[in-house]
Symmetry: C2
Subunit: 110 residues, 2 copies
DNA sequence: ATCAATACATAGATTATCAAGGTATATAAA
DNA sequence: TTTATATACCTTGATAATCTATGTATTGAT
């Protein structure tokens, strides 16, 4: 991303993707880019530390597998504790979003 | 705030308040707290540097005035360039919010 | 007389992200 | 066959936003 958005955001988005299916790093970057209509362009230097942090916390587990091409990939799976963390982050996002829109008088809640 | 939210956010919110009326620092903190239902609890160490930065950019102008109580206050007024900056930030927020909700499958856009 | 709220400010630490670099393989194009 | 591009992992150092903590000073209430 070329703008600094939120701390809340990135790991929440990563966990959300992993909730649907296990993914490897590069795939997360591409998927996020595509699903956000190119708004998020996560750098590898941002993502990998996040993944390692989530793994250390026990929110995800990694598992190395070889792709059909023969290339080695590291798939990340979400854990029950990761799902719980995701729910918390989604709730926080909701709270934050609502508060901002209250202040700016957003039209989203009419 | 006890959570680190966004860079985008704080100066946008400050400018938004100043768009309605000139305010002094302490008032901005209290107003933001109240209007966001206590979600934002901006620290002075966060706000004052932001105000000084906005002033340096020419987005706001400060004007010292004495309150009815006799106390000296530094009122910040938004400038035309500040209004333009605010519009840009509001647009960015909209883009960001939409992108996040697309990824998490938010229900706000049904 | 003391304490809480008001009102300004700065300094240092923390943390998220980026930019830039490194390694290596697969595939398509020249 | 070389070369470029996409894939796939990673780390280091810099930047920037925010927090915590601290400082000063006045006002108003107990």
């Amino acid at each position: 991303m070329d703008k600094r958005y939120t701390a809340l955001g990135t790991s929440m988005l990563v966990l959300k993707l992993l909730e649907k299916e296990p993914m490897y790093g590069y795939q997360i970057i591409k998927t996020l880019e595509q699903q956000s209509s190119q708004v998020f362009r996560l750098q590898e230097g941002t993502l990998y530390p996040i993944l390692h942090g989530l793994e250390q916390q026990g929110a995800v587990i990694s598992q190395t597998a070889s792709a059909p091409s023969g290339r080695i990939r590291k798939y990340y799976h979400i854990t029950p504790s990761g799902r719980k963390l995701l729910q918390e982050k989604l709730q926080e996002w909701e709270t934050y979003q609502t508060a901002v829109n209250q202040v700016i008088g957003g039209v989203l809640f009419e």
